[in-house]
């Protein structure tokens, strides 16, 4: 009743205005909703796309980068490019593909200096501190080093040589006389520049730079490694083990981690019982 009266009292112009406003608001609201959902979908960065040095975390980066391309322009090696429409990387944002052109790790970091917004963090002063991603020896089955062949190209091209990638020597079980040179990547030194991926001699690289969140696992937050804690604290943090009590015949004792089973010379008359269980006890040093 009241509504009807109000409706009657409303001038046609006012009614038209309200209708138009509601219509526009709904239309724009739909566009905004679609845009929001679309922006969520495009947030995923493909694993093969690597952000420039100093890039903020992906979410912050997408809120900070204005897609101007100044970092691309100041990259002396044409490493960086801006994502074009149709590419799987968020439109207009800078990235590089290590297998095409890796980052040459300029000491003066011109791309970070060029960034006007801080999407590339100006606090990054040493290129060695950048973490664009992490190299991972992703396929041991095709990496020829694991077949016992000498390669070590990734080890040799690494700009942080012998720190980001080291070689581990293993025995070659096939030939029984050679060593296998296994490349091992260390996350405390690897910047993710991608020179290893670029230089991998395989048709498809066996070592690849992955975004940190894909490359790294994480220990449960509650986990503590006992020996680390002990080293940091300078002593055991738990009640020390009681010395083990052995139930042995008279005149015998057992030295754990030392000489093993020992027959005391003060009791020469005791005869050792025999049996498989006792034979299994190591008898080093002292003994019968």
């Amino acid at each position: 009743m009241a509504e009807q009266q109000q409706g009657k009292g409303m001038s046609p112009a006012r009614r038209q205005f309200l209708t138009d406003t509601v219509r526009t608001a709904c239309g724009v609201g739909l566009v905004a909703l679609g845009l929001g959902l679309y922006s969520r979908n495009t947030r995923a960065l493909p694993a093969e796309a690597i952000r420039p040095p100093g890039a903020l975390t992906e979410h912050d980066f997408l809120g900070a980068c204005v897609r101007c391309g100044l970092c691309v322009r100041d990259c002396p090696y044409d490493t960086l490019k801006l994502a074009r429409p149709g590419e799987p990387v968020t439109l207009g944002t800078p990235y590089f593909t290590a297998r095409d052109i890796p980052c040459e790790m300029c000491p003066d970091i011109p791309c970070v200096k060029a960034c006007p917004t801080g999407a590339l963090d100006p606090k990054l002063e040493k290129i060695e501190d950048s973490r664009m991603g992490l190299a991972v020896v992703i396929d041991q089955e095709s990496c020829i080093a694991f077949q016992g062949l000498r390669c070590e190209v990734c080890f040799n091209v690494c700009p942080i040589r012998n720190k980001a990638i080291t070689l581990e020597f293993r025995h070659n079980e096939r030939t029984m006389k050679h060593a296998i040179f296994i490349p091992i990547v260390h996350s405390d030194a690897c910047t993710g520049c991608g020179k290893c991926e670029k230089s991998c001699i395989l048709e498809e690289a066996a070592i690849k730079v992955l975004p940190m969140h894909l490359a790294k696992g994480m220990l449960g937050r509650h986990y503590r490694l006992g020996w680390e804690e002990k080293r940091e604290a300078g002593g055991a943090l738990v009640t020390p083990d009681l010395p083990h009590q052995y139930n042995l015949p008279d005149g015998m004792r057992y030295e754990h981690g030392g000489r093993g089973l020992i027959q005391s010379p003060t009791a020469p008359g005791v005869e050792m019982p025999s049996g498989p269980a006792l034979e299994a006890i190591p008898r080093r040093g002292g003994g019968l």
């Binding site: 922006s39 897609r67 322009r73 207009g92 006007p116 801080g118």
Partner: protein, 347 residues
């Protein structure tokens, strides 16, 4: 709309009377301005590509490339080739006039310019920009506050050429009517883009913004941005007259906010001479802004077009055979002294 229908060839009278050049000069200057802006951004990349090509042809460059690929790949032997490439890059430096794109750029290595609308999205998304970007946006803001915000639309934005072409063809083909939506939709969209940025924490609008997409495309490589140009063209041609620039674009909406105070304005200073030929309405991308200035003498309104949505394109000045319009200063908003001046005080 009816006016557009009547004037299938707006400006014919002006061309006959003033000559083609004088009846097209602001249009020509505007196209020049748009192309020069684009050229300033493109000189760098084109020169760079040319130098790179020349370098590749040189035997020295060839040598360094071979060292890099096949040589003993130790960190030491890699250095010379790297520095050689670096030198080539530094040699290219002087060729850069403007680096970057419309979102943010660096001119001659010293002048930073940043699109304040993109920066506003960034701030809405929760990231406070560096001083460089803030200074750049400040310079741009001051410039458009002086010359009129939507000067960006008419004199700089590359999409303008697309929508002008669509409107020209729409006129030629006599396409009328179409979808009707409010010219205020753009302000709703402007608010929505900032809201979405705030909610998602990303520059969501920049995923689809045709203005930045096309300019970035022209300077950095188009990809599928041609499709977006096609969409805007068809929208303006078939769906509604001046649909994009005149109704929807939030970039234009943002810049129009700067136009409400700018001193530089178009004025219908000689409105007494108007013979109602409607040519100015036919060519104006924001027809609603003309009427108060041109026909408002009775209501005591001054001759200066005050609406922030006037793009200062000057097309009305071109097509008017009686030279009713001219560029003027906002404060000159008094018509014939005496009668109307008194009336102006009233509202």
């Amino acid at each position: 709309m009816a006016a557009a229908g009547k004037n299938l060839n707006p400006g014919a009278e002006a061309r006959a009377k003033k000559g083609w050049l004088k009846a097209s000069r602001w249009l020509i200057l505007r196209r020049l301005s748009q192309l020069v802006v684009l050229a300033l951004f493109l000189v760098g990349p084109l020169a760079d590509a040319w130098i790179a090509k020349a370098n590749r042809a040189m035997p020295v460059g060839e040598q360094s490339r071979i060292t890099q690929v096949g040589g003993v790949p130790s960190a030491k032997s890699d250095q010379p080739s790297a520095s050689a490439a670096r030198t080539a890059a530094t040699q290219a430096e002087p060729w850069w006039i403007v680096k970057g794109n419309m979102a943010s750029s660096l001119t001659l290595g010293v002048l930073p310019l940043t699109d304040p609308y993109v920066l506003a999205q960034q701030i809405a998304a929760g990231h406070w920009p560096l001083t460089t970007a803030l200074i750049g946006a400040g310079i741009v803001l001051v410039f458009y506050l002086l010359v009129g915000g939507r000067v960006y639309c008419a004199w700089v934005c590359p999409i303008n050429m697309v929508t002008d072409a669509a409107d020209w063809l729409r006129n030629k083909l006599g396409i009328k009517g179409g979808a009707r939506f409010s010219r205020d939709t753009r302000y709703w969209l402007l608010g929505a883009t900032l809201l979405v940025a705030a909610v998602t924490g990303t520059l969501a609008w920049e995923l689809v913004n045709p203005v930045t997409m096309v300019f970035r495309g022209l300077v950095f490589g188009m990809g599928l941005a041609w499709g977006v140009i096609g969409m805007i063209f068809l929208l303006d041609l078939l769906v509604s007259r001046r649909a994009w620039c005149g109704h929807l674009c939030p970039v234009g909406a943002f810049y129009s906010l700067l136009g409400f105070v700018s001193p530089l304005r178009v004025s219908a200073a000689n409105r007494a001479k108007c013979d109602d030929c409607m040519d100015c309405f036919a060519v104006c991308p924001e027809q609603q802004v003309i009427k108060p200035a041109l026909k408002g003498a009775d209501k005591g309104l001054g001759p200066v077009i005050l609406s922030g949505n006037c793009t200062n394109c000057g097309r009305c000045i071109d097509v008017c055979a009686r030279d009713v319009f001219q560029f003027d200063i906002r404060s000159h908003n008094t018509s014939t002294p005496g009668v109307i001046k008194k009336r102006e005080v009233l509202p």
